[in-house]
């Protein structure tokens, strides 16, 4: 699939759509519109994952990020009706803005370097698209997750649990 014309058309179209959606997210005044463009952005990224033969990650991206998390974000926006907020004057934080600009510049320079000056393909892993197709996408990920990467996996789940308990404690504090 890689290298065919269809692949490149699909990649360019989705990549451009993703960038367009990302720009729209930060330029819309209405927070609900921003959120919907973020959903669009997530969907585009899911398509990019599909183009990279990562079916499972792609569908999880749609289900968790585009589906569940953004639904929660929209719920909160609607609940707080942030529309009033947008007319408020900008809070001046010159230092943070400057710092952010520098970081963005560095990141952008890195991207340009990576794409134009020197192509960094990385090491070829042991899981080629053919091998994954043979094993099954979900099985491959599950196998690695529950053997080689079991410890980081469990630690991540504990961090999430701590986050949930923290949120509950914070919201209960007022009583």
């Amino acid at each position: 699939m890689t290298g065919s014309i269809f692949y490149w058309i699909a990649f360019v179209v989705t990549a451009l759509a993703a960038v367009f959606a990302a720009v729209m997210v930060i330029t819309r005044r209405n927070p609900i519109h921003s959120a919907m463009f973020l959903v669009l952005n997530f969907l585009c990224i899911a398509v990019l994952y599909l183009l990279l033969n990562a079916q499972f990650i792609a569908i999880i991206q749609v289900m968790i990020y585009a589906g569940a998390i953004m639904m929660l974000v929209i719920f909160v926006i609607m609940l707080l009706s942030v529309e009033e907020e947008e007319r408020r004057r900008k809070i001046p934080v010159p230092l943070a803005q400057m710092l952010g600009m520098v970081l963005v510049f560095i990141l952008f320079a890195q991207l340009i370097f990576g794409v134009v000056v020197k192509v960094l393909p990385g090491e070829q892993g042991e899981f080629s698209p053919e091998r994954i197709a043979e094993l099954g996408d979900v099985k491959t990920i599950a196998g690695l997750l529950f053997t080689k990467f079991l410890f980081p996996f469990e630690v991540a789940s504990i961090i999430l649990l701590v986050g949930i308990i923290g949120a509950v404690i914070l919201s209960k504090k007022e009583r």
């Binding site: 209405n30 609900i32 519109h33 919907m36 959903v39 079916q55 499972f56 569908i59 999880i60 749609v62 289900m63 585009a66 589906g67 569940a68 639904m71 929660l72 929209i74 719920f75 609607m78 609940l79 099954g136 996408d137 979900v138």
Partner: protein, 335 residues
Amino acid sequence: MELAYFLIETVVKVVAVFAVLMLVVAYLTLAERKILGRIQVRYGPNRVGPFGLFQPIADGIKAFFKEDLVPARADKTLFVIAPMISITAAISLFAVIPFGEQIELFGRRISLTIASLDIGLLYVFAVASLGEYGIVLGGWSGYNKYGLMGALRAAAQMISYEVALALSVMGVLMIAGTLNLVEIVRQQAGWHWNILYQPFAFIFYLVCALAEINRTPFDMPEAEAELACGFNIEYSSMKFALFFMAEYAHLVAVCAIATTLFLGGWDGPFNLPPALSWIWFVAKTGILVYFFIWERGTFPRLRYDQIMRFGWKFLLPLTLANIVGTGLYMVLRGM
């Protein structure tokens, strides 16, 4: 050449599924009104055509020619897009549902599934979760307080019950060891239906599914008595009809998935030739659809806080217990 055949085959399958689905949805509205009528000791629609059989056509024509209103303060783009999201998601669910055994046609083996994906079940959950944006945005964009209330309720309810829904089918996945719906049906062939191994999961699934498609007793987003129709309050004409069609298509999809996961799909009491195996599938799905209509005529609507408490404090622990129980069983049996 192979690619051309594949494309033709897929297009034909998509068109066939779409046409049949639209017909089913149209007559499901009539079936619901008829059955509910009988439950409430009245006749239901019986004026248009014999036994009211042309009622869906009359409804369709009416919806088509009604004035299409957009509220002045509405968010116009999202107001128009919302019903489209709903119907697209509801119909897309049918892409992975296996309707029947492979058939032999013009010397080609054709499976009665549009796409047999390795991640079939995850695809179902992903598309279903995207479809919820239709309801939430539809309620929000109309600039109506009842609509907004409906949207908020829909968002909270769907997030809550989606978790339990996904967990309720986990037991089946553990036994099957695959996410491919065609594969799951094949494993159930010959009376090894998953409902026999996972009876509780089946009940949990039905309850969560009711909440997921916003049907009584979980129809909070559109509770007529308190929200005056809720999320679709500002919609009229064909846009309203699209929401309606999406709701029924989603209902059929939920029943079809239940048939696939728990009731053995196209497997039946006696074997039909492959070309007719879909009859079992349709029959089982039909029974489940009937059950969903029947329970609507039976249960009262719950209160909002009761629904949320039931979802998080009752259903979620039970589905988790089901997973632990299934795991224990599998370890002890050495599966």
